[in-house]
């Protein structure tokens, strides 16, 4: 199997440094507003600080792939004396929770590493260094290289999953007639 090099862009989270301020949420939602920074709303953010304050959990989690079904796991783990719900660390938007979904449409959101910026804005504005941007090269099997879905594709896929392909097609056809 042919191996190819792929550049991976990611954010390393150092949860112990997080002071829980949620600036990452604010700046993410502001950057993705249209036009950029014209509004902000942490509910639209692709990074969320999961909190259980008295349990000492302040954990920034950035949005991963959308999953169309709920997972079966709801395990709890104790790490360094802190109790984590499995859901706390999951990066997926899924039908069982509101996390990483547009509050208006319910469509899923996915971190795009603020494409076009030097580094994701959540990292840039995290002044306590809980978030660190990393770029690294990895070798992967050629067949595993799949183009990252665009934002529109992620949205469409979730609509199809929710309403069925035909209904989405019918809606698009109806809208296009309206011109």
């Amino acid at each position: 199997m042919a191996k190819i090099k792929k550049k991976v862009r990611t954010i390393t989270v150092n949860a112990d440094k997080c002071n829980g301020c949620r600036t990452c949420e604010i700046m993410c939602s502001a950057f993705h507003a249209v036009p950029p920074y014209s509004s902000n709303n942490p509910a639209r953010s692709r990074i969320q600080v999961i909190t259980n304050r008295l349990e000492d959990i302040w954990m920034p989690v950035f949005a991963g792939e959308y999953t169309e079904s709920e997972c079966m796991g709801r395990n709890k783990y104790i790490i360094d004396g802190k109790e984590y719900n499995e859901c706390d660390s999951c990066r997926a938007a899924c039908p069982s929770r509101d996390l990483f979904k547009e509050p208006d449409s319910g469509l899923p959101l996915k971190c795009d590493m603020c494409d076009g910026e030097e580094q994701p804005v959540c990292v840039k504005w995290c002044l306590v260094d809980a978030l660190v941007y990393e770029e690294r090269e990895v070798e992967v099997d050629e067949k595993d290289v799949k183009e990252t879905m665009t934002e529109m594709e992620v949205g469409l896929e979730s609509l199809v999953s929710k309403h069925g392909f035909q209904k989405v097609m019918d809606t698009v056809a109806r809208l296009s007639k309206k011109g």
């Binding site: 301020c21 949620r22 000492d56």
Partner: protein, 656 residues
């Protein structure tokens, strides 16, 4: 579209259960910005001066600031305003935390509560869904506990809850409103909530906050961020550690408490322990603090670490901030910091102010030791210092026995107890407990700040002016070298001329004229902060802060779209300040009320103090009784206020 502000108030009539979403006039922002400014206007328009704190007509207003919910770092304060049961004036304690931003995202700038609920309720605000919910099951629960219970009940970990504990339910005059790692704690907001039978307010919002000019706004944000980083890397020289950086004094981060413990008075604001901070204490307190502080935390959108999650041995966890770390231990004369973590937890659950309450407890101990309170009053009280304080705290929060009298605060308790107890009320201004600090020679700047500000609490009035003269010219030159925050270059010369001793030292220097200008500057910045919802720790309470009179107009303009310059911003701050002043004048405040405690400074200068007050009043455009003149009020578009004051005989027509 409205920028920065939501444009709606939420009006809740607790008597009928009626809830309305009311659009506001955009003109209000131009006249008073928001936050404290517009809240004062609401009270002026709707609460007549005959109203007493526990009358149904007393409004309780939870307000966001103009910049809350925008990306402006540290704009996260909620202003809670009401007529105080303690001072009888318009109080406005503030809290950081996360409440204000969530309310703004819900689509409201303020929640206005009127009348009283017949049963215990909590208000739940979630965007357009707003409801009063039964809180009978929460009665008697702690303020931290209640927040957690409501979050579970709503199944929403991001709901922000402001709650009262038992003290608020029992209308203790020093009852606070607790929320996350913060609290609105001065002057009895918790008592007003309790009187209206509101156990808590929970908010969750998922709406947008809009900015008018995003590019200009982000340029300013970048400048602020660059400065924060610069100041972190370059602490101000020759000032104490807690003042050398930015953010509120970070008591949870720093363990060195030499300055506070040796300069502030212990007990009932009596004793300075000048040699307290020994190596042994340093070691023991540092160990205690490092053991108790589980994590340093901030408020919403703030890069500092003023608060902490506390986990001390078997004490239930809670979040603490700032000076509460010291107040109970110092008031009880307990030298073990472990005591602080324990009693602060109970005090936080009860929901009591950690400035006033320890002083009230220390006042009771002092009366007992003086024989004015007796064994009968203290029946069942342990004899050790720690046990005594816990016992007294329980009595106050529950209003049991002597606690019922103490729960009204030192001023009222002293008068009720009588038998000489009044002489032990030596640290209140306008019936409100002050910072326990007793010093040497009168400080003219602090004299004015203590006496005249509507906050009636010095701890958040000072800030941008050095607390004392620098000993050497080199230090002064270094300090003024890089000081863009000042409103006028002439302030630099005052610092350069200001000596520790001799002709140009306190109390006669800075001169009354200079003092007036400096205090006016402090006051202006605090007023702007309180209008935009900025934490004064990042602005007016901070030496050389990131926000100041030169960048604020640009930030506010970019956020709101208002065409605002420095002169315009000063005019707005002045307008709101004078409206607040007139409101409290209407409630009875006069020159005679504007005096610090007699023993606040060892050396007093009665004539100079009168001159200071007169000079300051004149500078502010107030008459000799501290009431804004018609001329001043008209200059600030407050002619209607002058009419009202004249109608009531507070301002005499033609005499100013």
């Amino acid at each position: 579209m409205r920028y920065a502000e939501a444009g709606y108030y939420l009006e809740v009539d607790l008597a009928t259960g009626n809830i309305e979403r009311v659009a506001t006039d955009p003109k209000l922002m131009e006249l008073h910005l928001g936050g404290l400014g517009t809240s004062v206007k609401v009270h002026w328009d709707r609460v007549p001066p005959e109203t007493k704190a526990f009358d149904p007509e007393n409004l309780l207003v939870f307000s966001t600031g103009l910049l809350n919910g925008t990306p402006v770092f540290s704009a996260n304060r909620t202003v809670v305003s009401f007529i105080s049961p303690q001072s009888g004036t318009l109080a406005y304690p503030m809290m950081g935390g996360f409440f204000a931003a969530e309310l703004k995202y819900s689509g409201y700038d303020k929640i206005i509560f009127k009348n009283k609920s017949p049963d215990w309720v909590y208000l739940y605000v979630s965007n357009n869904k707003v409801e009063l919910r039964d809180a009978s099951h929460l009665q008697g629960r702690g303020a931290v506990e209640t927040q957690e219970l409501i979050r579970k009940e709503l199944n929403d970990p991001k709901a922000q809850v402001a709650a009262i504990g038992l003290a608020g339910e029992n209308r203790v005059f020093t009852a606070s409103i607790e929320q996350s790692r913060s609290s609105a704690s001065r002057l009895g907001g918790g008592a007003i909530m309790g009187d209206k039978k509101i156990k808590a307010v929970a908010v969750r919002g998922t709406g947008d906050v809009f900015l008018a000019h995003p590019e200009a706004f982000m340029r300013e944000m970048q400048g602020v961020t660059d400065y924060i980083k610069y100041r972190w890397e370059n602490p101000i020289k020759d000032v104490m550690t807690i003042l050398s950086g930015i953010g509120s004094p970070q008591e949870m981060l720093h363990t060195d408490e030499k300055w506070h413990t040796e300069n502030f008075a212990w007990g009932n604001a009596r004793t300075r322990r000048r040699d307290f901070w020994t190596e042994e204490i340093d070691e023991s307190w540092s160990k205690s603090q490092h053991g108790a502080v589980k994590r340093l935390i901030s408020c919403y959108n703030c890069p500092t670490h003023c608060g902490a999650l506390i986990s001390h041995k078997d004490t239930p966890r809670y979040m603490a901030k700032c000076f509460g770390k010291l107040t109970y231990a110092m008031a009880a004369y307990v030298d073990d910091l472990d005591f602080s973590w324990k009693i602060l937890q109970r005090a936080t659950e009860y929901g009591v102010d950690s400035f006033s309450t320890p002083q009230i407890l220390a006042f009771a101990v002092e009366l007992y030791e003086a024989g004015i309170l007796t064994d009968k009053d203290f029946k069942g009280c342990p004899s050790d210092k720690e046990g005594r304080f816990f016992w007294l705290l329980d009595r106050v929060a529950r209003r049991e026995g002597i606690g019922d009298i103490l729960a009204d605060g030192v001023y009222f308790a002293a008068r009720k107890i009588g038998n000489g107890a009044e002489a032990f009320d030596h640290n209140t201004i306008k019936k409100h407990e002050q910072l326990p600090i007793k010093l040497g020679t009168l400080d003219p700047l602090y004299f004015l700040m203590y006496s005249t500000n509507e906050k009636i609490s010095i701890t958040q009035m000072e800030g941008q002016w050095p607390q004392s003269a620098f000993p050497t010219m080199e230090q002064r030159q270094e300090f003024v070298r890089d000081w863009p925050q000042i409103p006028d270059e002439k302030f630099k010369q005052i610092v350069l001329d200001w000596e520790l001793r001799g002709e140009k030292s306190i109390p006669y220097f800075p001169t009354p004229d200079m003092c007036s200008e400096i205090v006016d500057w402090m006051e202006m910045m605090h007023n702007i902060d309180d209008a935009v919802g900025m934490c004064c720790g990042m602005s007016s309470f901070c030496l050389k802060p990131p926000y100041h009179i030169h960048n604020y107009p640009k930030i506010i303009s970019a956020a709101t779209g208002m065409d605002l310059d420095e002169a315009g911003l000063k005019q707005i701050a002045n307008r709101s300040r004078n409206l607040h002043r007139a409101y409290n004048n209407r409630l009875g405040i006069r020159r005679v009320d504007e005096k610090p405690p007699e023993d606040h400074w060892k050396k007093r200068f009665p004539e100079l103090e009168e001159e200071l007050l007169s000079t300051y009043y004149t500078y502010k455009g107030w008459n000799n009784d501290g009431i804004p003149t018609r001329e001043k009020l008209e200059e600030l578009d407050l002619g209607y206020v002058a009419d009202d004051l004249e109608k009531r005989g507070i301002l005499k027509n033609g005499q100013n």
